[in-house]
Amino acid sequence: MSEAAVIETGASDEPQVKSARAETILYVDGVSVTFDGFRALNNLSFYVEPGELRAIIGPNGAGKTTMMDIITGKTRPDTGDVLFKSEIDLTKMDEAEIANLGIGRKFQKPTVFESHTVFDNLLLACSGGRGVFQALFHRLSDAEKIRIEKTLITIMLEDKRDEMAANLSHGQKQWLEIGMLLMQEPELLLVDEPVAGMTDSETEETAKLLRSIAKDRSVVVVEHDMEFVRDLDCKVTVLHEGSVLAEGRLDHVQKDPRVIEVYLGR
């Protein structure tokens, strides 16, 4: 299965692999992971270029979330390489280190700090010292304040500034989480099902938000919603049973007979 992907990305021979690596922000090669005999990922390989917006689709159990877990250091792969900016080996690092490298992750289920205000949620995500004592003696600077206010506007929550995050609607929590990712100033954003449970207008707003975010960073979006993926208007990778089934523009992969079989066969 992964052969197709390799051919499509044109990385089948040595020199090109190297050049591909040199240009990638995320390089996943031959990653496999097994949970109690169940192969969640099977020799998964794909690349994301700097500044690229990429959608990853696939049926349930295709390994999308496990892939995210591996990139962000939550799960260790059994075999394979995961490189950030072509040289940093992510498989040896933990979540916090990876986050500090500039990889942000949004969970499938919106996860914000419910007992904090929207403002404090953004403050906590604000890039800067993560050390214990830095945090203990930290005082809010004007620059940080301005950044937070700007982000509040970006995620359309400026009027909810002092609201407890617990009291936000589901869609607002999704946005707040995206806002927190922005505050981290990541170079690579991994977004897991950002529009699950959103209304149509919210979905549209979110697509717009992600496209604008992708202007100055790489974004990988995992999504089920085909309309939303079409709205994103980007390259699509189809996962199936832990490996890449097809890759390309949405209308291109939709014509692929194997993709049709996987989706309709279910």
Partner: protein, 567 residues
């Protein structure tokens, strides 16, 4: 003659310490035994009636030394009529009848003393205390009497009495006993006892033997034995042999024998440790297996789990009290009824706790922990108020008392063996319920996907309550078993709760086999550490090891992996 024997003893292989000991004894009573034993004729019942009566009358002599001599003389004879006389003297029941100066055994009944003739053993009149004068004894005489009785017991017609006498001789290892023992060996007909006697002979022959051949022969007999006693004999001999500079082959043979005895003993020691470990493991398993259900399957931290065990133990007590008028003591029925009763009582309490407290706290494990701790305090105090704070006595049924004893020092008590068996049955029963019954299926369904289970028509609340009831009921059954080996007190549960949690956490949550393995490995590790470090330190080490183990495997030995365990 006496001097000859003493000189033999002087030349014999004893350390200075032993020499001193013997010298002291020769000065005292036992020296006479040596003398007398040498003269003992080889037939039983050497005394004629008249001789017996005469020699017994000498027991009333004023001098204690003389009395001792008489005792020894009587004992050395091997006459079976002597033993009751000496026994009576030891018990203070031997008198001289004023009317005819005959020695009689008198037993008191009210104010009347019944006389028994020492020669015929038949009743020979009655009197008040005025007509009798007691034959007085002191501590020295008591010692002499006991020694003499031990000697006589060797010739008792009762096999059990003879065996006990042989064991006593084995323990004392007094070379003076050797001639008597040899005579006893000649007469002995019981094969097993004969072997024991020969072993005893060998231990003494080793000490008293003079030639290399005698010693080597004794060593050869001893080398095949595997008891701590023989190890002590041999190691004592090795050190004295080295000190006295025996022939090298004797020393070497003794060392070899000692090494092989030690090797076999250490194997038995290991077997014993494993057994004790399994025994402890089965107790831990019984205590923890109910928890494995409530904690492992439901994710509920039940701090009142120990109190469920306690309730089971008290149920056993109550059942036994209630049935006491109808059953003979030691009947197995009360225990047989206690098992289902404890299951029902503890299970019912469990269901009530689940319905009244725990069901409001699902998804909040820490709060559940606190609330069930509160429940445990209430239950403890309730039991204390009803039954009092003192320990209650639960009598063991007959089939559980007693033990299999090996000469190697390993003792397998029946109650422990039954508990091991019982724990296996309980675990097998739970596994069967979980696997083969409709309830087990529903339970697993609710554990895996509550919402889905609910939508296919399983009453999830009902299943929750029953699952908790099952876990508690099993704790109750554990209480029945534990009532046999620990004190039934309101604190019973507290002693098991931390251990139970350790077992479940170590084995891995949600895995019955993990719990089984966890219990047995903790039990065995504990028992292997105990001889080295003592019980308390062993326990501390196990706790520390567990704390460190959890760092390595935060979810236990058999943790589920993957995304599903996320929450």
């Amino acid at each position: 003659m006496r001097n000859d024997i003493l000189s033999v003893l002087r030349r014999s292989p004893f350390s200075m310490c032993k020499m001193h000991e013997i010298a002291t004894r020769v000065m005292g009573a036992l020296g006479f035994v040596v003398v007398l034993a040498a003269f003992v004729p080889d037939t039983a019942q050497a005394f004629s009636d008249e001789e017996l009566r005469n020699i017994a009358e000498q027991l009333d002599d004023k001098s204690a030394t003389k009395k001792v001599a008489v005792i020894e003389e009587m004992a050395a004879d091997g006459d079976p009529r002597v033993a009751p006389i000496l026994k009576a003297m030891l018990d203070g029941d031997l008198y001289v009848r004023d009317s005819d100066e005959h020695v009689v055994i008198a037993t008191k009944k009210g104010k009347v003393y019944t006389h028994i003739d020492i020669v015929s053993g038949e009743v020979a009149g009655e009197s008040s205390s005025k007509e009798l004068s007691k034959i007085k004894i002191n501590n020295r005489l008591r010692g002499a009497l006991r020694d003499a009785l031990a000697t006589l017991n060797l010739f008792s017609p009762d096999l059990a009495v003879r065996s006990a006498a042989v064991e006593q001789i084995m323990d004392a290892r007094d070379p003076a006993m050797l001639p008597l023992l040899l005579r006893a060996i000649d007469r002995e007909e019981d094969e097993t006892l004969l072997a024991r006697m020969q072993l005893a002979e060998a231990t003494m022959a080793l000490a008293a033997g003079e030639t290399t051949d005698e010693r080597l022969a004794a060593i050869a007999v001893l080398a095949s034995e595997t008891t701590p006693q023989i190890r002590a004999v041999l190691s004592q001999f090795v050190s004295s042999a080295e000190a006295e500079g025996y022939q090298p082959e004797v020393v070497a043979a003794a060392k070899d024998a000692l090494a092989s005895v030690e090797r076999r003993l250490s194997t038995w020691q290991t077997v014993g440790d494993v057994y004790r470990g399994i025994s402890l493991g089965s107790v831990l398993l019984l205590a923890a297996v109910g928890l494995a259900i409530t904690f492992g399957v439901m994710g509920v931290i039940n701090m009142a789990h120990g109190e469920m065990i306690m309730i089971g133990a008290y149920t056993t007590f109550v059942v036994q009290q209630a049935l006491a008028p109808f059953l003979s003591s030691g009947s197995a029925w009360s225990l047989a009824i206690s098992v289902p009763a404890a299951f029902l009582v503890a299970g019912a309490v469990g269901v009530v706790i689940e319905r009244c407290v725990i069901r409001f706290l699902y998804g909040r494990p820490l709060e559940t922990l606190l609330a069930t701790w509160g429940v445990s305090l209430v239950l403890q105090q309730a039991i204390r108020s009803i039954f009092g704070a003192t320990n209650q006595q639960v009598t063991a049924p007959d089939f559980m008392s007693g033990a299999i004893e090996f000469s190697t020092g390993l003792v397998l008590t029946y109650n422990r063996l039954w508990i091991i068996l019982f724990s296996v049955i309980v675990v097998a029963g739970i596994a069967a319920v979980l696997r083969y019954t409709a309830f087990g299926l529903q339970m697993r369904a609710v554990t895996q996907n509550r919402r889905m289970a609910g939508s296919v028509g399983i009453r999830t609340g009902y299943v929750d309550a029953l699952t908790f009831g099952l876990g508690s009921g099993i704790a109750g059954i554990a209480g029945v078993a534990l009532s046999q080996i620990s004190n039934v007190s309101p604190n019973l549960g507290q002693t098991y709760i931390i251990d139970s949690f350790m077992v479940v956490v170590f084995g891995g949550v949600g895995n019955l086999w993990g719990t089984v393995l966890g219990a047995f490995s903790l039990g065995i590790v504990n028992k292997f550490l105990e001889p080295m470090a003592g019980a308390v330190l062993a326990k501390i080490f196990v706790l520390i090891a567990l704390i460190l183990f959890i760092q390595k495997r935060p979810k236990g030995l058999f943790a589920l992996k993957g995304r599903a365990v996320e929450a």
